[in-house]
Symmetry: C2
Subunit: 201 residues, 2 copies
C-alpha cells in the first residue's frame, strides 16, 4: 500500500515535470524522453506509467478541468455576489484560469493532442466543469424575462464568450495587444461588464 502511494506520487511528479516543460517551451517542447531525463529515470519509465503520450496529456487536461470546475463552483459559494455579479465572476474565473494555467487550458481544447473521447476520465472532468458553469448561468438567468428555451442558449452564449476571451488573450491577437497580465485582465473585464449590462437590460 505504501508502495502504491509511492508510485502515485511518482505519477504526480511526472505530471508536474511535464506541465513545467509545456509552460516553458510550448506544447511541442514536451517529450516523454525529456520528462524522463528531468525526473532522473530511463526514457521508458513514463511510458510504463501512462501508456502513451496522449495518456499523460490527457491526465494533465483532466487536472485542468477539475481546477476550472472548482474555480467556477467557488463563485456560487462566495456569498458576496448574487445575480449577474455571479455571472461576471464566473467569466472572470474562466479567463483567469486560462491565463494562469495556459498549459492546462490549451491541452483541454486541443483534440489533436488529447482526444477526450478516448479518455473518459478527462471527459467526465470536463462535463463537471461545464455543469458548474451551467448552474451559475441558470441561477442568474431564470428569474429574468428569459423564455425557458433561451436559457440553454444563454449557457452556450456565456461559455462561448468566456472561452473566446480566454483563447484570444492566450493565443490570439488580443494577447499581442495586451501583453501584461494586468492589461489582459482589464480587457477581459471590460468585455464581461458590457455583457452583464446587456443581460440586465
Amino acid at each position: 500500500m505504501a508502495k502504491h502511494e509511492d508510485t502515485e506520487t511518482f505519477r504526480k511528479r511526472l505530471l508536474e515535470v511535464a506541465t513545467a516543460l509545456i509552460e516553458e517551451g510550448g506544447l511541442d517542447a514536451l517529450s516523454l524522453r525529456e520528462v524522463a531525463r528531468r525526473a532522473g529515470v530511463s526514457h521508458q519509465t513514463p511510458y510504463h506509467h501512462f501508456g502513451d503520450r496522449q495518456a499523460i496529456l490527457a491526465a494533465i487536461a483532466a487536472q485542468g478541468f477539475d481546477e476550472l470546475g472548482a474555480r467556477i463552483g467557488g463563485v456560487t459559494e462566495a456569498s458576496s455576489a448574487r445575480g449577474t455579479a455571479q455571472l461576471l465572476a464566473a467569466g472572470k474565473a474562466y479567463v483567469a484560469f486560462a491565463l494562469e494555467r495556459p498549459a492546462h487550458f490549451r491541452l483541454m481544447f486541443r483534440p489533436e493532442h488529447v482526444d477526450l473521447r478516448h479518455h473518459p476520465e478527462a471527459l467526465a472532468a470536463g462535463q463537471r466543469a461545464h455543469a458548474a458553469l451551467e448552474a451559475v448561468v441558470r441561477a442568474c438567468v431564470e428569474d429574468k424575462t428569459f423564455r425557458r428555451a433561451d436559457q440553454g442558449d444563454a449557457v452556450t452564449l456565456t461559455w462561448a464568450l468566456a472561452h473566446g476571451l480566454a483563447s484570444l488573450l492566450l493565443d490570439g491577437p488580443l494577447g499581442l495587444t495586451a501583453q501584461t497580465p494586468e492589461a489582459r485582465e482589464i480587457t477581459a473585464d471590460r468585455a464581461l461588464r458590457l455583457f452583464r449590462k446587456l443581460i440586465e437590460a
Copy 2:
C-alpha cells in the same frame, strides 16, 4: 518570368498538399517530408521554398486570415442585411469559416505552431480581418445607445463570442454534442440570435 510563375504555382501546390494533410489527419500529421513525397519531390524541396516548418504553416495561416477577412467583409456588401442583422451575419460567417476550413482556423490561433510576430505577412492579414469585423460591429452599434467608450468593448465582445463558438464547436465539447455540420450551425445560430436580442434591448 514564366519560370517565376511556375515556382509560384508550385508554392501554391505545396500549400494545398499541406492543407489537405492537416485536414486529413490533424495538425501533427503534417510533415514537410510527407508533403514532399506527395508532391513528388525530394524531402528538402519544401524547406527550400519556405525556409522552415513554421514558414509553411504561417503561409497557410495567412491564407486563412485573408479568407476570413473576405467573408466578413462580404457581409457589409450583401445589402440585404442592415443593423444587427449584419452583426448576426458576421458572426455566422466567422463560425462557418472555422468549420469549413478547420486546418486554417486552427493554425491561425496556435502560437506554438505559428508565432505571428515572426511572420509579418500573416500578422498583417490577421489585422485586416480584425478591421473587417470591427467595421461591421461599429456600424451596427454606433447608432444605438452605446457610449463611445463601450464601442471598442462591443467589438471585443462580439469577436470573443464568435471565436469562442467556433473554438468550442471545432475543438471543444460543443463539437462532441453537435456532431453534424447542421447541428453545429444550429447551435451557433441560436447563441448568436440570443446575442442579437440582447443588443437590441
